[in-house]
């Protein structure tokens, strides 16, 4: 005769929803537990992806074809110097688009001569070549950069941080600063230079006046080199020997954009940590589901008995409770993904980033929630199925 039937998918879903419909508040609170965990994970992945997308866009814009040449150390540990004609020689390398030198000037910058020379505010004074601005692809927030006409006079261009420290926001009214014992007129203020933070914290004067007033010898302390994008590595290889043919090993060449890329990499460690925290929240949510399901099975012994009497097999009962747990966690998972996307969107909007929610995070979010639900539902469902119909029916 008849064997037990297989339930239709629609009926299975309906069965799983009965308990949830009946206890809405409990359903909502339990789903919230899962939602928080999933939202945390999706938000972490989303924010990290948005940040990375932004960083890559920034890198794209800044270009990765800037190299920085500095004198290294000699074999004996003394600090080395670049030859005076290093900039000219570097410019002769074919793929080099431009090269600009800066040199350290031993002097302090102050707003007035009443301020102690010891309070430099971390501002360094650098001599800079007029083509530094174009080599760094920088822009001015106010005024003009040094040029062949102004670089022999006491004029100064301030880096972005320097201007803020000194409280000068515009060249209007020809503000002056007290630099190395003489008043210099501020002719320009730079925008921030992400690839050359040293410049942000410097006051720039011309080489001619630096040599005249402070006796520098014309040797560059830093040489910024912009190459054609395809030839960065080739240029990098020949730079030491070109900049200092006598002692190529005493030349350091770095690529400032590497630091930005490293920043993207360090974010990974933080992301992993935050993901793990989200995982802990999810685990707690899963325990919450298991807990609620065990209680639900105890409360619904009679319903289980009635269903058994109406012809439900053990398997039917088991499926009902597993599906209930799955619906519960699925509800939490979908809510969590939406919540995580909203958090990502909000954070990215505040930071002015493009919003990037990885599709993998969305799929994995719902998938992990369902997995947690299945695991959490198995034990309570097995308990429900173990009830013998006779004892379940008679429960008063």
């Amino acid at each position: 005769m008849s064997d037990a039937i297989r339930l239709r998918p629609g009926d299975v879903l309906g069965l799983g929803a009965v308990g949830l419909r009946t206890r809405r508040l409990r359903t909502a609170l339990t789903a919230v537990g899962i939602a928080i965990g999933i939202a945390a994970m999706v938000a972490v992945l989303g924010i990290s992806a948005s940040s990375r997308a932004d960083l890559l866009a920034e890198l794209d814009e800044l270009g990765t074809n800037l190299l920085e040449v500095t004198p290294g150390q000699s074999f004996f540990g003394d600090s080395s110097k670049l030859p005076v004609d290093a900039p000219a020689m570097v410019r002769r390398i074919g793929p080099v688009e431009s090269a600009a030198a800066t040199a350290t000037v031993t002097a302090s910058v102050r707003r007035t001569d009443f301020i102690s020379p010891l309070e430099t505010g971390g501002i360094s004074v650098l001599a800079a070549e007029p083509n530094l601005l174009s080599t760094l692809d920088g822009t001015l927030s106010s005024g003009t950069f040094l040029n062949a006409a102004t670089d022999r006079y006491p004029t100064v261009v301030l880096g972005a941080d320097t201007a803020r420290t000194l409280g000068i926001s515009s060249v209007a009214g020809s503000p002056r600063v007290y630099l190395g014992g003489q008043w210099f007129t501020v002719v320009g203020i730079l925008d921030p230079l992400p690839l050359a933070p040293t410049i942000d914290r410097a006051a720039l004067i011309g080489f001619p006046i630096a040599e005249a007033m402070f006796g520098i010898d014309g040797s560059a302390s830093t040489l910024y080199v912009r190459t054609t994008p395809a030839q960065v590595d080739a240029v990098r290889a020949v730079l030491p020997a070109t900049a200092n043919p006598a002692a190529p090993t005493e030349v350091r060449v770095t690529r400032p954009s590497d630091a930005l890329e490293a920043r993207a990499a360090t974010d990974d460690a933080l992301t992993a940590l935050l993901l793990a925290l989200g995982g802990v929240a999810l685990l707690v949510g899963g325990v919450g589901i298991a807990n609620v399901m065990v209680i639900s099975v105890l409360e619904r012994r009679r319903e289980i008995g009635v269903r058994r009497a109406l012809g439900a097999t053990k398997q039917h009962i088991r499926v009902q409770f597993v599906v209930e747990a799955l619906l519960l966690s699925g509800l939490g998972g979908v809510t969590g993904v939406l919540l995580g996307a909203v958090v990502t969107g909000g954070y990215a909007a505040v930071r002015g980033w493009t919003i990037a929610v990885p599709i993998l995070a969305v799929v994995a979010g719902v998938g992990i929630a369902l997995l947690v639900g299945a695991v959490a539902g198995l034990y309570p469902a097995a308990r429900a199925a173990r009830l013998t119909p006779a004892e379940a029916v008679r429960t008063t």
């Binding site: 005769m1 008849s2 064997d3 037990a4 039937i5 297989r6 339930l7 239709r8 629609g10 009926d11 309906g14 069965l15 009965v18 308990g19 419909r21 009946t22 009679r302 319903e303 008995g305 009635v306 269903r307 058994r308 009497a309 109406l310 012809g311 439900a312 097999t313 053990k314 398997q315 039917h316 013998t388 119909p389 006779a390 029916v393 008679r394 008063t396």
Partner: protein, 242 residues
């Protein structure tokens, strides 16, 4: 009419159309000492019967209900429901047998809380694989049979005890089972509601439904065509339904 069936040898019982047949059934619950809930019980319910099982609490009525309802298996002897030996069926087959052949009415009504009256009735067809649309239609018909069509979309908490029991009866008969088992169907109702429920059951009997009513109330037992009285796990007295 009042021949004692217990005295009849078992082989003579296996005549026409036995819906339920118990042959020297014993049920023992493990423990120290073990409890002999039923001892050597033989009885038979035929199609169209309406029989009471009457006895005080602790007499073995519940155990008998569980065995006849295929909710449990006997320790000794054989239980046949609709000609099938319960001992030979596994959980799946036993569940299928309950789904197809037996309708239950409980003292506590036992409706599922979150479901409306019509959904509760329709649940009885769920485990028989009836499609949802047909389940609803047949459930609505069954509610009409017990005079509760107007309350079809109320939840159990919105129904009186008597109304809940009518829903439960509709649930028991919606699948046209071979046997309806009613366990103290009036036990949780006042006498007026109880009488109404008995009227509904009598009406079902008139329409041809086979009914077995478990009760401790001798007045109810006396009002039914047949009665089996049990005490201490043994059949004490039988009054035949015909």
């Amino acid at each position: 009419m009042s021949a004692s069936l217990a005295a009849v040898p078992p082989q003579r019982l296996a005549t026409d159309h036995a819906v339920v047949r118990l042959d020297r059934v014993g049920k023992e619950y493990p423990g120290s000492p073990p409890v002999h809930a039923l001892v050597d019980v033989s009885l038979e319910v035929r199609a169209g019967d309406m029989v009471a099982v009457v006895g005080p609490s602790g007499s073995g009525k519940s155990t008998l209900l569980n065995l006849i309802g295929a909710l449990d298996r006997p320790t000794t002897g054989t239980v046949e429901i609709d000609g099938r030996d319960v001992a030979r069926l596994d959980d799946r087959a036993l569940s299928a047998l309950r789904a197809a052949r037996i309708g239950f009415v409980f003292q506590q009504f036992n409706l599922v809380e979150g479901l409306t009256a019509v959904e509760n009735v329709a649940t009885a067809l769920l485990y028989r694989g009836v499609p949802a649309r047909e389940r609803r239609a047949r459930a609505a018909d069954a509610l009409e049979r017990v005079g509760l069509a107007a309350r079809a979309h109320h939840r159990p908490s919105e129904l009186s005890g008597g109304e809940q029991q009518r829903v439960a009866i509709a649930r028991a008969v919606v699948g046209d089972p071979a046997l309806v088992l009613a366990d103290e169907p009036t036990g949780n109702l006042d006498s007026a509601r109880g009488a109404e429920i008995m009227e509904v059951l009598h009406a079902l009997h008139t329409e041809g439904t086979t009914l077995l009513v478990i009760t401790h109330d001798h007045a109810i037992a006396a009002s039914l065509p047949g009665a089996i009285s049990i005490r201490d796990g043994r059949v004490e007295l039988e009054r035949g339904p015909r």
